[in-house]
Symmetry: C2
Subunit: 477 residues, 2 copies
């Protein structure tokens, strides 16, 4: 069996990688039998001929133990490259399944940010076993990088950046980059540091290439570099990098010394994680703390998901008990005109739907920076106009049903209620995110279920108040 017949065509691999079950199983079976038959050469050829990101994906078809058998066939550089692309959960499992000295070799060859992340995920015992097997420089680098709290620029940055001295020539700088290229995360942005390792400028490889070979780095560098601090939030760094289209951003510590860079490929991950976190918060799945982001959902334990979901559901039960209290207050109204119950779910759902629409719009617009917390008065006015129009449109639709179900008086009650509850729900949905943003709480915490529950309570009170008033029914407590 040759490499050609393992990778019959590019389409075959594409199918495997896009999640097609049949071809996936076919490839896994082939690889499995090659390994059992001890055909190391074919396997080595296969994994060397595809991108390490694809190798990582293929390895995750197997158990971590079996994946280790495959990966140890390759040379150490390729092993490290593949480790850079494994999903965190699987990577940790493979790391635990590998021999200690083998793992130390891989860690030595990995990119600096990825290996620090991996190290952070090992158990304290595993960490202690690994450390002595590493070179001292690596040990210190890992310790430094893994000391920054999750969610900060320090936690995502890498320390294998390219640095230059301000006093060398462009020619010497190019020569230095040429030799260092293989070990650096990127050489397209170079950081100019003085003897105290303070960041004094930034120079792109493009500028360096265009510059006259004899000019000094200090003459051609940009001496007002855009930078961030290790303690800054990673998502802030990502949004600055996106704004200025930066390939990499230098990160300095409290002493103004350059300690690392965040690169464009980290930005994708940060933006996606941030959006996922906002999604989860909007759906009442997590609070401000650690969310389900970054763990492979398929493999997350049910218990962890329950722990994330139950507290919110229970909290909302208590908000919704207020709805029950509202109904209890109007029990005699309901007994007098049971037909009113017909419209109850419709009216409170409409208030909730309008509220979830406006909160979704606001939360996302605040997250992407389309609107600012200071815009709230302007947007409130705008939302009143929009909600009134929506409410009137829906009132029109529903009063026709009202005439059929309960006569003209009920139609008036239902139409009027619809207009007011849609307005009420929309305003709650619009204002709560702004209020939270003003209080420096993530607006995404104004979750849709919370807005819906508040709209429910308000909707019930509005509905029965209007009904008692128009239909002249005495309310009882």
């Amino acid at each position: 069996m040759t490499k050609e017949n393992l990778l019959e065509s590019k389409d075959f691999l594409d199918n495997v990688l896009s999640g097609d079950e049949k071809t996936r199983k076919e490839l896994a079976d082939k690889l499995d039998s090659l390994l059992s038959a001890g055909d190391r050469d074919t396997l080595r050829d296969f994994f060397s001929s595809i991108h390490p990101a694809d190798s990582a994906q293929v390895l995750e078809f197997f158990t971590p133990e079996r994946a280790c058998e495959f990966i140890t066939l390759l040379d150490i550089e390729n092993q490290a490259r593949i480790f850079n692309y494994l999903s965190p959960h699987f990577e940790t499992q493979m790391a635990s399944a590998l021999g200690r000295s083998q793992l130390a070799k891989i860690i030595g060859a990995m990119s600096h940010d990825e290996r620090a992340d991996l190290f952070n995920q090992l158990s304290p015992e595993e960490q202690e076993e690994i450390l002595p097997a590493l070179a001292q420089a690596e040990r210190e680098d890992i310790r430094k990088l893994s000391s920054y709290p999750e969610g900060t620029a320090g936690a995502v940055m890498t320390s294998d950046y390219a640095s230059l001295s301000p006093s060398i020539t462009a020619r010497a700088a190019l020569e230095k980059l040429r030799t260092e290229a293989p070990d650096k995360e990127t050489i397209y942005q170079c950081y100019v540091i003085n003897e105290q390792r303070r960041l004094v400028g930034v120079l792109s490889l493009r500028e360096l290439l265009v510059a006259s070979p004899r000019s000094l780095v200090s003459q051609i560098m940009n001496d007002q570099p855009i930078f961030a601090r290790a303690g800054d939030r990673a998502e802030e760094v990502a949004s600055i990098m996106a704004k200025y289209d930066l390939i990499a951003m230098p990160i300095i510590n409290g002493d103004e010394k350059l300690v690392g860079i965040v690169t464009f490929d980290d930005v994708h991950d940060i933006i996606e994680e941030e959006a996922t976190e906002d999604f989860h918060r909007m759906g009442s799945i997590s609070g401000r703390g650690e969310s389900l982001v970054g763990v492979n959902f398929r493999e997350t334990s049910s218990w962890l998901i329950i722990q994330k979901r139950l507290p919110w559901l229970l909290a909302l039960v208590f908000v919704n008990l207020l709805s029950g209290a509202g109904i209890a207050f109007y029990e005699s109204t309901i007994e007098a005109v049971v037909a009113l119950v017909f419209f109850l779910p419709l009216l409170i759902a409409s208030a909730g739907n309008a509220g979830s629409q406006s909160s979704t719009l606001m939360v996302r617009a605040l997250a992407t920076g389309d609107v600012k917390a200071s815009d709230w008065i302007y947007l409130l006015g705008k939302e009143v106009g929009i909600a009134l129009t929506l409410g009137l449109g829906m009132a029109l639709a529903v009063s026709m049903v009202g005439v059929l179900r309960g006569g003209p008086e009920v139609a008036v009650v239902v139409g009027l209620t619809m207009t007011i509850v849609v307005l009420f729900g929309s305003l709650v949905g619009c204002l709560l995110p702004f209020l939270l943003a003003k209080l420096k709480v993530d607006p995404a915490t104004a979750s849709v279920p919370l807005i819906t529950s508040i709209a429910d309570v308000g909707g019930i009170i509005i509905y029965f108040s209007i009904a008692t008033w128009i239909l002249h029914i005495p309310a009882t407590g």
Copy 2:
């Protein structure tokens, strides 16, 4: 008034740009009075000393007409750079306010993808007035780039990429890049094309720099480049680029000819837009068509927002009328035990909340690729376990209230209903996104309000069925 006192400190500008109202007004007033006083030099210094992205943000403090007065003080390269960073809406307004020949000059100097986007947003009359003022090569380039449908790779790509012939040496290639650098979007990835302009390889500047100067491009290039087609969806291209950490990806047309590249900075925008679209769909704000993404929310007309929101709200009214029908069917049950209404909002809201949680988790996990449509059976089983646990936990909480409000029999009804409706809501929320993904519809269309409405109808039927059965109340139609 000098530049120093206009830009008192970096902190001042930071405050302005982060949306602080007071400093923003202060800067706008200063700039305004400098313009009225005709102090062009100070203004020119100011806009040249800050990043074009910041200049763009500052210009948007003013009316488009006033912004034109500021920008025309600068040299044409700086004008074009600032135009690259303006928000689409404001950019179009400024373009309309500028003189035709001035606009043609700016368009001539802009990056190829940005100018094609701008051109697309001009009115047909404006487009016709501009075209004759452009050089023929520019005209054709703009026509080509603006011919691709929105949302495709063709619509976001740029045509100012760096290309190399396979037969030149590394030294000659470096020399070519050095001269072309200022005009190219990026020179860090170079595309090797043959005489028919077919893509035959890709070479990074890093590899080129490390290679021996006398080796041929064809010897050192990667001859299996990762590429996409102009008609591919932009978000697919973005996710491939994120997977392989690519700075740029080559785009070919139907004849396999290289027609452009998508760069890493486009990827940020695509990922953010995609997440925003998913948010909007989950919140029932838009369907598959054009959403509110990419328009500045603050400036979007109320009418456009109403057009996006009303159809969904009305559609949901009709789903919710089914809830009414369910209630009408059980009217005699309600008349017999009015206390049941007390728990109605709570129970249907809980079903909806559980459903919105599971649909949010699934929609996002499908969007980020954490789970695949083929995983549905496994995840369904998992969700049953999770939902049963959640339902039992909530049943426990709510049956205590049931004992207080209606005695042990009502407590049993309410507890049993809670367990079943939470299970029902969760399963709907979990399955609908998978069903849509299988049908090749965007799972985000399984919006939370839709799930909630379905859970409402189901919840009502389940609640009153259980009540009639346990409390032995005859149901009537």
